[in-house]
Subunit: 127 residues, 2 copies
């Protein structure tokens, strides 16, 4: 799937299959772009696509998110309310901060979300 | 600079000042989007812009890069040769892998590069 020798890996995100996100997510798919299994020692890169009117679950977990909005617009909701987000925005969601990402625009909301590796792969799949 | 309470931080990348990259880089600037100082516990997100005909230095270091190409096209050179890259490509450069990123296109080559926190901030500035 990846090209080049193990120490340099290149792939286009469109060649990584999107998986539907479960656990109360609506219209959300995720592509695991870089994972521990692929050889990344510290953190994983995922690309999420949220359909129009879709949203991630309102949830929290003991690891942080580093997010970059690639396309679209929406909102991040936390305990303080809803905060507008759009293409080019950078978001740091600290550990144990309850959050939800909602597509309020007319196109797919597409973003990268990087997380540290955690031991339980099932937990990783649910954030 | 960042909006919202400390546990949720949102900013547009264009509001973070680009800094010229030194150390043999040609026509490269970097915006430090998320850093340890801002509260990120594990890894830093940076956005690089490489001008037409510009390039990062040919260098290596003991930490990995996780890269996502936002715009433009270019090449990654390693010990095996040059490998084409374009918008939407995902690149994992392992630790101690010599590498150089070159803009071979007609527009700015723009990419995210995420690295683990390392102790010496000066070293972080030089990768």
């Amino acid at each position: 799937m990846w090209s080049r020798k193990p120490s340099l890996k290149i792939i286009n995100y469109k060649n990584i299959k999107p998986e539907p996100e479960m656990h109360s997510a609506k219209g959300v798919s995720v592509r695991w772009l870089i994972t521990k299994k692929m050889g990344a020692p510290n953190f994983a890169m995922r690309l999420f696509e949220v359909d129009q009117n879709g949203s991630s679950p309102n949830h929290e977990h003991p690891w942080e998110h580093e997010v970059f909005i690639l396309d679209g617009e929406g909102e991040v909701e936390n305990s303080e309310g809803k905060h507008a987000i759009k293409s080019g925005d950078v978001i740091l969601i600290s550990s144990n901060e309850r959050h939800q990402i909602i597509n309020t625009g007319c196109e797919t909301l597409r973003f990268l979300c990087i997380i540290p590796h955690i031991d339980d792969q099932r937990m990783m799949k649910n954030n």
